[in-house]
């Protein structure tokens, strides 16, 4: 009858020693009926966390019976058996307490033992002074962990412990290791020490305490997900306790916590007692409790980051930690190593196996995947990373979807939940790498919880080594061990290997050996960061040895750095990093001699690099590391340098390329008679500043055009011509703080007009304020208009000139037209058309003398004359339109034949629309009409319209059934050609109402801008379906139209 309970307690005790509060929290938030709890523990948890013991399993029902039968006694038993162990422990601790008790492990030198209070989870570190105590604790440890304590009652065990403490002076290794926990002496020599003395339990871990805890915490967070809520111990309280420890923040006295623990322990038993009395009540309520319980465990849930990434230099115990921690938390560890096949498909299968399936074999513990050396193989290792990433992202995606399902499931049994998720991570995955910044890990780094291992303190390593040496009865001195540890940078593995090697040779480790060939060095390449750190940081340990032999120290250091740097290789990255960080260092250099020397080295290295790249003489690279070592000798400091990855080179290079691109693309737009004289250098050196001054004259008043004096107009014309000749304009940009700094007057609008291309950026130096005047927004707007106008005129002139090659008589015709219109002022449309025409033809005839100011003035004059005509003309508009609408009528008849179903309403709308005067705004001051009659008579014209949709233009032109080429310029100045040959087209406006049907053979739209303009329409049957794209095409604002041929 006593059997199960001591075991229970032993389990508690073992876990106690194991530093594992989560496993056993004796003070649950809600008391639970005792027989439901043990049942669960026995039935589910135990087999998983420990090796199953068949006799117990068989006996279980019996125990339960017994326990329910003697509830009262049971309570007493609990009390009776729970007291002794703490007492024993207290004894052990009390004698120690007087010496060193601290909340921080770092405050205690030498060995320390962490002790946790079960109730609050408070934790203190206790220094272990006498080896007897250490030994005793050790024994408990080992035995507890190996789970061999099945049949011994606790008092027997205590006796044994007592005995062993008594016999502590004796060689305890063979006698103490009972059962099967450690191999027998004869086997020892067959085994590597590294394996033999690998830590088996959490306490034995040598790695940094805090890291250990955080790893454990992370694993514990999985409990609710993996084991379900059966594990009571991972309650919020324990987790928070763990958390508290990992972020050492609290400062409670140890005594207090022990007090509370006792109190709480009593409370717990009381609670149990009460609960067992109120069994029926509890049973009725158990459902509700379970629910609330369940909620709580859900809230702790699996950790945010599903992957743990451990990184650090080799030999610090990453793999060991992963194994031990996982085993400790009751997982079966599955390791994927660099030596395994790591192609994407195999690894995926493997991971899926591990992560989602439960073994049917005897070992039914959940699995924990450990991917070792994930950074090792770049090509294949990526497979693993990819698979993990995929799973994590799948998880994220489905998370929201699952939320609902999860809510429904809440009341159901927890065990059912496991099967729900498909391709997501259900088991903890621990990845281990050496180089955190390996390129293959970049994406993993973002989603994983990263822990960087730091070196354990030398004293810890040494004490461990000493212990092992004692065990192996090898004679060493602690000085030699310390040197060894330092030499290998606390790489325990290499220390042990070295020791075993020496032991085999029957040699004694002495200080001298370590520097010699006896101790193997690791051939490892480190990350660039490590190398920079080594270069900039003096090693303290080296300094200590200065006294021993300073000359050999120097050469040692040289060798060390040399091998370090040459193992890494990437000299340009290394030197880049030195170059960028060196000036930020704090070193004493009043006359800058050191700095100059260092930069000299860097310069030499750079020259050498250039030379090597040029001549491809790679062997010369061996001369690079010494340069870095020189820098090290000059500037290395003891304090830790604040390093940054060198980015500025790349950044500046990109900015430079960007600027060059801006210049190049702009340069290609400038007409050749200017651009050929303008190279990058001369532009930046001589031209840009004056050019910007010239382009923004402070004398230009921000008033409307017509208010300017003649002289000012002349200035403006010159400015516009300069802008056009340099193909500059302004464009809307989001107000950029950088740009705004430039100007004296900052417009606070969201969008401002700035140069396009942004040539003003060529004088924006950081931290420099140029005194360039910036034009007012209004002036800029005027300029944009004028420039655009000027440009269009130039282009149309060029175009008509180009097309006119065979049509000499055209000029005469135009002249005729001009004279005709001068006389006949009745036809308003013609008048306006002619006026534009005139303004066009004037420069056209004078194009050998491209003085644009004259063009402008003619335009101005023509505009004013139109303005004067306008009041008269507005009355006439309708009439003239009527007269010209004969085209429409003809057209409508034609269209009526083709599409009969055009209903009246539409027709009415069409008529209405058609009857609207075809007015376009030009410069927002004067209205122009499309001169249809004029086109019908003129052979070959171009005219200017402003912001007219293509559809309108087509519509109007096709009334005359022209075969024409329309060059359309919309604001951004990419143009499209529309070749219209003759077929029926439904022209729709933006609302989809049919404006008109047109007879167009074929419409090719060639867009320069590769927008939706590549519409090619061929057959009449397909129009309707394509009308949408037609609409977009037709609504492109057109600025100029050239008609090349008439029928």
């Amino acid at each position: 009858m006593h059997i199960p309970l001591p075991e229970e307690l032993e389990l508690l005790e073992a876990n106690y020693q194991d530093l594992d509060p989560p496993e056993q929290d004796p003070d649950p938030p809600e008391p639970v009926p005792p027989d439901s709890l043990p049942l669960e523990i026995n039935g589910h948890k135990r087999p998983r966390s420990d090796t199953p013991k068949s006799p117990i399993d068989v006996d279980e029902p019996q125990f339960d019976e017994k326990r329910s039968r003697i509830v009262d006694n049971d309570d007493e038993d609990w009390l009776r058996y729970s007291t002794p162990p703490p007492q024993a422990r207290d004894d052990a601790r009390v004698e120690v307490e007087e010496k060193f008790v601290s909340r921080y492990a770092s405050e205690i030198d030498g060995d320390c033992l962490p002790v946790t209070a079960p109730s609050g989870g408070d934790r203190v570190y206790v220094k272990i002074s006498s080896s007897g105590v250490e030994e005793r604790v050790k024994k408990l440890d080992v035995r507890a962990h190996s789970n061999s304590l099945t049949s011994e009652p606790i008092d027997a065990l205590l006796q044994k412990v007592e005995q062993e403490a008594f016999n502590k002076a004796l060689n305890s290794s063979s006698e103490g290791q009972s059962d099967r926990s450690l191999p027998e002496k004869p086997v020892v020599h067959e085994q590597l020490w590294v394996d033999k003395y690998a830590p088996n339990s959490f306490t034995e871990l040598l790695s940094d305490e805090q890291t250990n805890r955080e790893v454990l915490l992370w694993l514990k967070q999985w409990d609710s997900c993996v084991f379900g809520s059966e594990i009571r111990s991972t309650s919020e309280e324990v987790l928070s306790a763990l958390r508290r420890h990992s972020t050492i923040s609290q400062n409670k006295k140890q005594n207090d916590s022990s007090f509370t623990r006792k109190n709480r322990g009593n409370r717990w038993s009381n609670g149990n007692f009460r609960n067992s009395n109120n069994l029926e009540y509890e049973n009725s309520n158990s459902k509700g409790i379970q629910d609330s319980w369940h909620k709580k465990t859900r809230s702790t849930g699996p950790p945010e980051q599903k992957v743990l990434l451990l990184c650090g230099p080799p030999g610090l115990g990453k793999t060991t930690l992963a194994h031990v921690a996982a085993k400790h938390c009751g997982y079966h560890v599955v390791e994927v190593n660099a030596s395994d096949d790591r192609s994407s498909s195999t690894i995926e299968n493997k991971i899926l196996d591990v992560v989602q399936m439960n073994s049917v074999m005897a070992d039914s513990r959940p699995k924990c995947l450990v991917i070792d050396e994930i950074d090792g193989a770049l090509g294949d290792g990526k497979g693993a990373v990819e698979v993990i990433l995929k799973m994590v992202s799948a998880e994220r995606k489905s998370n929201t979807a699952k939320e609902n399902v999860a809510k429904e499931d809440q009341s159901e049994k927890i065990s059912k939940k496991k099967g729900r998720k498909k391709a997501s991570l259900l088991r903890p995955v621990i990845c281990i790498c050496n180089d955190l910044y390996a390129p293959a890990l970049r994406s993993l780094r973002q989603i994983a919880k990263v822990h960087v291992f730091i070196q354990p303190s030398v004293s810890r390593v040494v004490s461990r080594l000493k212990h092992i040496c004692n065990n192996e009865s090898m004679k060493t001195s602690s000085i030699a061990l310390t040197t060894l540890a330092e030499y290998t940078e606390c790489d325990i593995r290499s220390c042990l290997n070295t020791l075993q090697f020496l032991d085999k040779k029957k040699e004694i480790l002495n200080v001298m050996d370590i520097g010699s060939q006896v101790v193997g060095r690791k051939d490892m390449s480190r990350s660039a960061f490590d190398i920079w750190k080594e270069i900039f940081q003096k090693r303290k340990t080296k300094r200590l040895r200065n006294s021993v032999s300073s000359s050999s120290n120097v050469s040692n250091e040289f060798d060390f750095l040399h091998s370090l740097i040459s193992n890494r290789g990437d000299y340009d990255v290394i030197f880049d990093g030195i170059h960028e960080n060196i000036l930020q260092l704090q070193y004493h250099d009043p006359v800058m001699l050191k700095t100059v020397k260092c930069l000299d080295c860097l310069g030499n290295s750079d020259l050498m690099h250039q030379y090597i790249m040029r001549t491809q003489q790679m062997p010369l690279y061996v001369y690079q590391p010494p340069l870095a070592i020189t820098v090290h000798r000059l500037v290395s400091q003891i304090q830790k340098p604040n390093l940054e990855w060198p980015k500025s080179y790349q950044r500046y290079r990109n900015a430079f390329m960007e600027k060059m691109d801006i210049f190049k693309s702009w340069h290609s737009k400038i007409p050749p008679y200017i651009s050929r004289h303008l190279s990058t250098e001369s532009f930046v050196e001589d031209s840009i500043s004056p050019l910007l001054h010239i382009l923004s004259p402070p004398t230009l008043r921000p008033v409307a055009l017509h208010l300017l004096s003649a002289k000012e107009k002349n200035d403006l014309a010159q400015l516009v011509s300069a802008m056009v000749s340099y193909s500059l304009t302004y464009k809307n940009t989001k107000s950029d703080p950088l740009l705004n700094n430039l100007g004296n007057e900052v417009s606070h609008d969201v969008s401002t007009l700035s140069f396009d291309p942004p040539i003003n950026e060529f004088i924006t130096f950081k931290g420099y304020r140029s005194n360039h005047y910036v034009l007012a927004l209004a002036v800029k707007q005027v300029l944009v208009h004028e420039v655009e106008k000027q440009r269009i005129m130039q282009v149309t002139i060029g175009k008509s000139e180009h097309l006119a090659d065979g049509y000499k008589e055209n000029m005469d015709l135009a002249g005729e037209e001009d004279s005709k219109t001068e006389s006949a002022k009745t036809n308003n449309a013609a008048v306006s058309a002619k006026l534009i025409e005139k303004s066009k033809s004037l420069p056209y005839s004078r194009q050998c003398n491209p003085s644009t100011s004259t063009v402008l003035t003619t335009l101005d004059s023509s505009r004013s004359s139109t303005a004067s005509v306008k009041p008269k003309s507005s009355g006439d508009t309708k009439k003239s339109f009527r007269s010209s609408s004969s085209f429409f009528d003809r057209f409508r008849k034609l269209s009526g034949k083709v599409s009969q179903d055009t209903d009246n309403a539409v027709q009415k709308a069409t008529v209405e629309r058609d009857s609207l005067p075809l007015l376009f705004k030009f410069n927002e001051s004067i209205n122009y009409q499309l001169p249809l009659d004029y086109f019908s008579s003129a052979g070959f014209r171009s005219f200017l319209c402003y912001q007219l949709p293509l559809g309108r233009v087509l519509q109007m032109l096709l009334k005359g059934r022209f075969e024409c080429v329309i060059s359309c310029y919309h604001r951004l100045f990419c143009y499209l050609f529309v070749i219209v040959e003759g077929i029926y087209v439904n022209v729709l406006d933006a609302k989809g109402i049919q404006i008109h049907q047109m007879f167009i053979m074929c419409l090719y739209v060639h867009g320069d801008a590769a927008e939706p303009l590549s519409v090619q329409l061929e057959k009449d049957g397909t129009w309707a379906r394509r009308s949408v794209s037609l609409t977009t095409v037709f609504s492109i604002p057109i600025v100029a139209v050239t008609i090349c041929r008439s029928k």
């Binding site: 100059v596 008679y673 001589d686 004056p690 004259p697 924006t764």
Partner: protein, 365 residues
């Protein structure tokens, strides 16, 4: 149009600054077949203007009608095919291009272009002008290989094609090429010549240009005609009736170098060096050539330094200019100059200062 472009001489007769050279060239092309030419001289001295005027003299106004082309060449370079793209200006009789834009592959460009031109040699019934002219800009930036291949092709196709080379420094053109060309040195215009040009422009524009102001413009222009005219127009735009003491706006990058120089003079420490380095980067990424920056910085520093260390500063500046030249010469600088190189330059402007500081003579006294 800016004045600098508007009043650019179009014919050899209109040339004001290098009248003697222009007349010689005119004689050369009218009397006999013109040889290969190599124009060299500092930027802004009028090389290209002369070349264009010369072309006009040879081919008539047709030479001005050029079209811009983005040509691509497919070159079979033994093991691989190289696609090259380059912008060329070409008229019926001549082609202009800057082969150094092609970077490492410039030699292919040189070879291919000349071959292509030789292939379609213009046929002239009169037998005259039976050649095309290839204008190569920035020959000094050509890689050595390109220059070597140029040497051979020059001879091979000399019957059908004339080369006009244009560069800033003839020292960076190999001896072989120089000896195959008629070398024409174009000096920077003297200040008097600049004044003359400015007065000419003022007359054409109908402006009153006080002579004192014109001289000041010329002085400030660094003997670059382009800069003089541009500054002139700037002043015109900013304030018309000119005054003798009117401010002439400086180049922004020069102002910035001025700031750098005063930074250097203020304090010599690693931290300051870091700042200065950042500022130098700013200049470089705004496409200001490193050599130009270095020269200007030297100029600014020399104004403030003690006499004893001027010599040394000059020495180091020259050293670093020569290094960057060396690099330029062998690997055409299509790349951003390496930061290390620049920092070294920056550092090396400094050592003399430091030594001066450590010596008995304090800098600022």
């Amino acid at each position: 149009m800016l004045w600098a472009d508007k009043y650019r001489p179009k014919t050899l007769d209109q040339v004001i600054v290098h009248q003697d050279i222009a007349q010689n060239l005119k004689k050369l092309v009218t009397e006999q077949d013109c040889p290969h030419l190599l124009f060299y001289g500092p930027p802004g001295s009028g090389k290209k203007t002369l070349i264009m005027a010369l072309l006009r003299q040879v081919f008539g106004p047709g030479a001005e009608k050029v079209k811009v082309e983005n040509k691509t060449w497919k070159i079979d370079a033994g093991s691989r095919n190289i696609d090259l793209e380059l912008t060329t200006l070409s008229s019926a009789n001549h082609v202009e291009l800057s082969p150094s834009d092609a970077g490492f592959q410039d030699r292919y460009v040189v070879r291919e272009v000349i071959k292509e031109m030789a292939k379609n040699r213009p046929i002239d019934t009169k037998g005259k002008r039976g050649f095309k002219v290839l204008v190569l800009n920035e020959v000094d930036k050509l890689s050595r290989e390109a220059q070597h291949s140029l040497r051979r092709t020059m001879e091979k196709y000399s019957a059908s094609c004339r080369l006009i080379l244009c560069c800033n420094s003839s020292s960076k053109v190999t001896e072989a090429i120089r000896s195959r060309c008629l070398n024409i040195r174009i000096n920077s215009p003297t200040e008097e010549q600049i004044v003359k040009v400015l007065e000419f422009i003022a007359k054409k524009e109908g402006l009153q240009l006080p002579s004192g102001f014109a001289t000041r413009l010329a002085e400030k222009s660094n003997r670059s005609l382009r800069r003089a005219i541009l500054s002139f127009e700037t002043c015109r735009v900013q304030q018309y009736p000119f005054k003798d003491n009117q401010a002439i706006p400086a180049m922004d990058w020069e102002e910035f170098v001025f700031e750098i120089a005063s930074d250097i003079m203020q304090e010599q420490s690693p931290k300051r060096l870091f700042q200065v380095r950042g500022k130098l980067y700013e200049l470089l990424l705004n496409c200001v050539p490193p050599v130009v920056v270095l020269k200007r910085l030297l100029y600014e520093l020399l104004k403030r330094l003690d006499a004893e260390i001027k010599h040394e500063v000059c020495h180091w500046a020259a050293y670093y200019v020569s290094i960057s030249f060396q690099i330029l010469f062998i690997v055409p600088l299509v790349d951003f100059p390496s930061p290390l190189e620049c920092s070294a330059q920056a550092a090396y402007i400094q050592p003399p200062l430091i030594r001066a500081n450590s010596g008995p003579v304090a800098l600022h006294s």
